[in-house]
């Protein structure tokens, strides 16, 4: 982690999010006082897919809600999308237009008569003309894999759970954010729905070059998708590593009440037997290929 002095991060073009000694206290000076963030220092580059994990109550939501000023900065440095969040005259509209935030159970925030209106709500708030907002909505709905013509005039309340969640995600994507923040985006979905949402997020990250910050409790999805994993504990950052390296620390991870992903258990076990795989072996297929190559055979 960056213990080095503050390098004026707003100048560094590559950095999307930069935090240095960020602290946050809920209800200060009352019996309900809660020091939720303690000296958080981290930096996230543009285009990265970063996962934030940690036991319940470790401050993940509090941190990600800082990123578009839903929780107001108290002390420390925080720069997001080139804006200084400690600035009293911060341009909230600009910030919220650059940072799209998808909440846990986002389908509970749908409200409009039609899906089209609901998805266009975001762009409309940022002053986009009606017709253009509809175009953005159409694009966003297609990006999340929904049939635009079929769904546009339905009521959002008549959709299935999975569809609702996609519509809610489209509502955020329609604002064309540079940074996409997701707080447990797959909570409450079936395995199939989870996989679909994740591959969606992954492709948004890779194809549209959007920085993704995802809070998750599912270590398997974190392991397979994230470029980097940041572990929170009691309001502080304890690890900040690529997934493969992180989950080699089996004992430490388990002691924090987190799981080891299945594939990591497998590669770790192989390593104990002396079979060392390259660092980019994450998925079943990659492991299989690497094993075949180790054996000197060809992958048929």
């Amino acid at each position: 982690m960056s213990k080095s002095p503050v390098v004026a991060p707003q100048i560094d073009e590559k950095v999307a999010i930069y935090a240095n000694n960020l602290n946050f206290v809920y209800n200060p000076k009352s019996p309900f006082e809660k020091h939720a963030l303690k000296d958080i220092s981290l930096s996230i580059n543009k285009g990265e897919f970063v996962a934030i994990v940690g036991h319940t109550g470790s401050g993940k939501t509090t941190f990600v809600q800082h990123l578009n000023a839903l929780v107001r900065h108290q002390s420390g440095d925080l720069f997001v999308a080139g804006l200084n969040l400690a600035d009293k005259k911060l341009d909230l509209k600009k910030l919220r237009g650059s940072v799209g935030m998808v909440f846990q159970y986002p389908e509970y925030q749908l409200f409009a008569d039609t899906v089209l209106e609901d998805v266009a709500f975001g762009p409309r708030n940022f002053g986009v003309a009606r017709e253009d907002a509809y175009k953005l909505a159409k694009n966003a709905l297609e990006t999340v894999g929904l049939d635009f013509e079929q769904i546009k005039s339905k009521s959002p309340f008549d959709l299935s759970g999975g569809e609702k969640r996609r519509v809610a995600l489209a509502g955020v994507l329609a604002m064309k954010p540079q940074i996409l923040v997701l707080d447990e985006p797959t909570a409450g979905l079936d395995p199939q729905g989870k996989r679909e949402i994740l591959s969606l997020v992954k492709s948004i990250n890779k194809q549209n070059d959007i920085t993704v910050v995802m809070v998750s409790h599912d270590m398997n999805e974190v392991y397979e998708n994230a470029d980097r994993v940041i572990v929170f504990r009691d309001g502080g950052v304890v690890y900040d590593l690529p997934p493969r390296q992180l989950f080699k620390l089996e004992d430490q991870i388990v002691s924090m009440n987190l799981e080891i992903p299945q594939m990591a258990q497998f590669t770790n076990a192989l390593e104990k037997q002396g079979i060392v795989l390259p660092d980019d072996c994450i998925t079943v297929d990659q492991i299989f290929d690497a094993l075949c190559q180790l054996k000197g055979g060809s992958n048929v």
Partner: protein, 279 residues
């Protein structure tokens, strides 16, 4: 943003008043509220002030939290004071201007009335600050229990009350979350004319209502599927027990307010309290 509405909300502490039986607290609070309207003399007010100070000290709740609830009724206080000042015609005229006259008696009535209202609010907020809503509902259920004889649905009433109370925090949380979610989509609640502002609340109200009905239905299903039945001889999870604290507190209150009422009855002057009874 809605979390700031802490006014009158339970303040966790371990104190003499917190540990009292909720039923006794409720009854004594009622006695206090009635008693305060019988206070006439300066000596009486001084006595009540000392009494309240002792109670607040014994409750270990900071004075600031208690005074917060007084802030909530400032408008009412000002209105009451004005009515009392301008509509009291008896006594020596101090100032007279257009249709307004201010008399010395009016000022005295007004200040007594103000003190009564402030003390009333302080007394009731001490009750809610030191008693959890759950305990309070149980206390009400127990105190109303005799009404069961006339087939009054005491248990259902208590159930409705405690369900309502338990829904409030989750409703506040939900409102908070929806506001954040819509703000994240650029919703703006602070600018624009009245009409625009009212319209800005639609994206909050609709998900809130939908969510409220969903929760209510889920709860009803959960209760039905466990064969919940109203009042058929249910036992209570919390058993309320009286202790020495309740005895001491009751004695003190009965002596103070019983004394006040007796003094008042001996004077037997009914006339001055009538206008105050409107509040």
């Amino acid at each position: 943003m809605f979390r700031d509405v802490t006014f009158g909300q339970y303040y966790p502490k371990n104190s003499f008043v917190h540990n009292m039986d909720a039923r006794i607290k409720l009854v004594l609070c009622l006695l206090f509220m009635v008693g305060i309207f019988f206070v006439q003399s300066y000596v009486g007010f001084a006595l009540v002030t000392v009494f309240l100070m002792v109670v607040i000290l014994a409750s270990k709740v900071p004075l600031k939290s208690i005074l917060k609830s007084v802030k909530g009724i400032v408008v009412l206080l000002i209105l009451t004071a004005m009515l009392n000042i301008f509509f009291t015609k008896s006594g020596n005229v101090l100032v007279s201007w257009w249709i307004f006259t201010i008399t010395d008696e009016g000022l005295i009535y007004a200040s007594k009335m103000l003190l009564r209202l402030v003390y009333l609010v302080i007394g009731s907020s001490v009750l809610t600050l030191t008693t959890t809503p759950v305990d309070l509902t149980h206390a009400i259920e127990r105190l109303l229990a005799p009404l069961k004889v006339i087939k009054f649905p005491v248990h259902d009433l208590a159930l409705i009350m405690s369900l309502t109370l338990s829904f409030i925090p989750s409703l506040i949380d939900e409102t908070d979350r929806i506001i954040r979610a819509q703000k994240a989509r650029g919703a703006d609640f602070d600018t624009g004319n009245l009409f625009q502002r009212a319209k800005a609340f639609v994206p909050i109200l609709i998900p809130l209502l939908v969510g409220g009905f969903r929760r209510a239905e889920e709860l009803a299903n959960a209760m039905n599927s466990r064969c919940y039945e109203g009042a058929t001889n249910r036992t209570q999870m919390r058993v309320m027990k009286l202790s020495w604290r309740d005895l001491v507190a009751s004695l003190v209150c009965i002596i103070v307010f019983g004394g006040i009422i007796v003094v008042y009855a001996m004077k037997a002057t009914w006339q001055p309290i009538l206008p105050w009874m409107y509040f």
